[in-house]
């Protein structure tokens, strides 16, 4: 059969226009606050632009009276990094465990699903109450960390499921036949093969934690994470400094996404060469 380029049906153009509108809907508002964060010194929260300046970005780092932007940013960064490492390791282990049936596997699976669908504020309330009753001081690195893990583990586990459902076990069998120990098989065969997905889990868990608000509300203790800080600012800041903060955190999220993609591409290339 000779492949000719089929003419596109009218439906294609209608759907393409719909898709374009959807993309505009997704990105439009973000673009407006991006532009408005460069608002001039006397400008307000809406258009028109009153000049162009970096005033609000400078302001963000000066104005300590409003809040502790630097401190909360660092805390969110640290928390995100810890959540990321723990989620990658624990999800990978759990993914390996689920490759064969064991007693209670369905139960753990449904716990993960439950963790995903239970409203976040309930996790926050429950952990807060638990710490309150036992008179343990909540901290972002204890109760806060636990609350975030209940959010990232289900995603990590589901990704590992998707990976291992498509994983060809003959590579491992070959490694074992050649005398590799279990640990060597995992280290030199399984791990390199699933590495790109693990980077995906890492990016997923970092950004989920970095942006998490509801689960942190009652579990962060006395020191705010960045989303709590931003939320506080929405109620008492009425200058474009809010947009500057929005632009900065969004740019930061994009950098993380870019790094993750870069890492995956690098792995692919190395695999292609090696």
């Amino acid at each position: 059969m000779v492949r000719t380029r089929e003419k596109r049906p009218t439906a294609f153009y209608i759907l393409a226009a719909f898709f374009a509108l959807f993309v505009l809907f997704l990105y439009g508002p973000m673009l407006t606050i991006f532009i408005l964060s460069f608002q001039g010194e006397n400008g307000g929260l809406t258009f028109p632009m009153n000049g162009f300046s970096f005033h609000w970005f400078v302001n963000l780092f000066q104005q300590q009276a409003v809040g502790d932007f630097g401190g909360s940013f660092l805390r969110s960064l640290k928390l995100g990094a810890i959540v990321m490492v723990v989620t990658v390791v624990v999800s990978f282990m759990a993914g390996l465990a689920f490759r064969r049936r064991f007693r209670g596997d369905t139960f753990v699976f449904y716990l993960a699903i439950a963790s995903l669908i239970v409203p976040s504020i309930l996790i926050s309330l429950g952990i807060g109450l638990l710490f309150n009753i036992f008179q343990i001081q909540p901290h972002w690195y204890s109760s806060g960390l636990g609350a975030h893990l209940t959010w990232t583990f289900p995603f990590g586990l589901l990704i590992m499921f998707a990976v291992f459902n498509r994983f060809d076990p003959s590579f491992e069998e070959a490694a074992r036949d050649l005398g590799a120990s279990n640990w060597q098989t995992i280290r030199h065969v399984v791990l390199p093969m699933v590495a790109p997905s693990l980077i995906g889990v890492a990016m997923f868990s970092f950004t989920l934690s970095y942006d998490e608000f509801a689960r942190t509300l009652m579990t962060a203790g006395s020191l705010n994470t960045l989303p709590l800080e931003i939320y506080g600012m929405t109620t008492n800041v009425t200058t474009p400094v809010l947009y500057a903060l929005g632009t900065l955190t969004t740019v930061f999220s994009f950098v993380i996404i870019g790094l993750a993609f870069g890492a995956v591409l690098l792995l692919r290339r190395r695999k292609a060469i090696g």
């Binding site: 439906a11 294609f12 759907l15 393409a16 719909f18 898709f19 959807f22 993309v23 997704l26 508002p29 973000m30 407006t32 408005l36 929260l45 809406t46 258009f47 390791v89 282990m93 759990a94 390996l96 465990a97 689920f98 064969r100 596997d105 753990v108 699976f109 716990l111 669908i117 239970v118 409203p119 504020i121 309930l122 996790i123 309330l125 429950g126 952990i127 109450l129 638990l130 309150n132 636990g146 893990l149 209940t150 583990f153 998707a162 120990s181 995992i186 950004t207 970095y210 942006d211 608000f213 989303p227 931003i230 939320y231 929405t234 947009y243 929005g246 955190t249 969004t250 999220s253 996404i257």
Partner: protein, 285 residues
């Protein structure tokens, strides 16, 4: 065989995850159930076994209104995210022909998901506000003469922000289901004279049902428990169940918040159980 191949190995590998779920999910939820029967005064919570929190909650007409309002948000958001999500997924899966373009356009849809929800809500302010872009544009073209007040800080704004935030939760699972549909089925339908609509109705929609169910579970549970969107976008003029719980937490009325939380949890679980009858999640991964 040595450890990792035995059942013992599986137990060892699953322990960290199971422990975290036990300590930070199961025990906290049980704590909520227990505390919902406790008493409280202005300063502390008092261990007890009373039903006042529930009788007060369920006896108040405010509660029923709040639930009605929350269901309204959930239903509207669900309808819009499903309509938009299905259309977008259908376009990506069946009308974009090269895999590279499918991946690129899919990424374009997912990237905003990686950024802060609160920032994405705030970003509607310069657009919808009294002096916002939309009002300026409408007044500039002479369609209206007074700025529209209902755009920001209203139910409209809440649903708009919810749809903006969560449509992706529909796109991803539906797209996933659609990509698994055997293309020869569609060719067979076409060869037998089925129109585009008939193919859509009798093949694509039924086979996309698992994706639709998973997306619906996500969107409905998220909106049912939400309180930030309602607070920020309604400007404090509307209430939702989540917002009520968050207000009670703010007032340190933990047993009352716990009772509300238990009722919310039961409601969400009932909805999810109903939706799970349509789909086996483990098979869909």
């Amino acid at each position: 065989m040595s450890a990792p191949n035995s059942k013992r190995g599986s137990y060892f590998l699953i322990t960290p995850m199971a422990l975290v779920f036990a300590i930070f999910l199961v025990i906290p939820l049980l704590t909520i159930v227990v505390v919902s029967f406790w008493d409280y005064d202005e300063y502390r919570i008092l261990p007890d076994f009373i039903f006042e929190n529930y009788s007060y909650l369920l006896g108040s007409s405010v509660t029923w209104q709040i639930y009605l309002n929350t269901f309204k948000y959930a239903a509207l958001t669900w309808a819009f995210t499903l309509g938009i999500g299905f259309t977008v997924a259908y376009f990506l899966a069946f009308h974009v022909r090269s895999l590279t373009w499918q991946i690129i356009l899919f990424m374009v849809c997912t990237i905003p998901f990686w950024t802060s929800n609160i920032i994405r809500m705030i970003s509607w302010i310069p657009f919808l506000g009294r002096n916002g872009l939309l009002n300026q544009a409408l007044m500039g073209t002479g369609i209206i003469h007074e700025p529209l007040e209902f755009l920001l800080f209203s139910d409209f704004a809440v649903v708009l922000a919810d749809v903006h935030l969560y449509t992706l939760f529909m796109v991803v699972p539906i797209f996933n289901s659609m990509m698994r549909i055997d293309r020869s089925l569609i060719e067979a339908a076409r060869d037998n004279g089925a129109s585009g609509w008939a193919t859509l109705r009798h093949i694509i929609v039924p086979l996309s049902k698992p994706g639709i169910a998973i997306g619906s579970i996500f969107v409905i549970t998220v909106v049912m428990g939400d309180f930030i969107t309602v607070r920020l976008m309604s400007g404090g003029q509307s209430a939702s169940v989540g917002l009520q719980i968050s207000n009670e937490i703010g007032l340190l009325q933990y047993p009352a918040a716990a009772a509300s939380a238990v009722v919310l949890l039961i409601t969400v679980l009932l909805i999810v159980t109903a939706l799970l009858r349509l789909v086996d999640i483990r098979k869909e991964l």
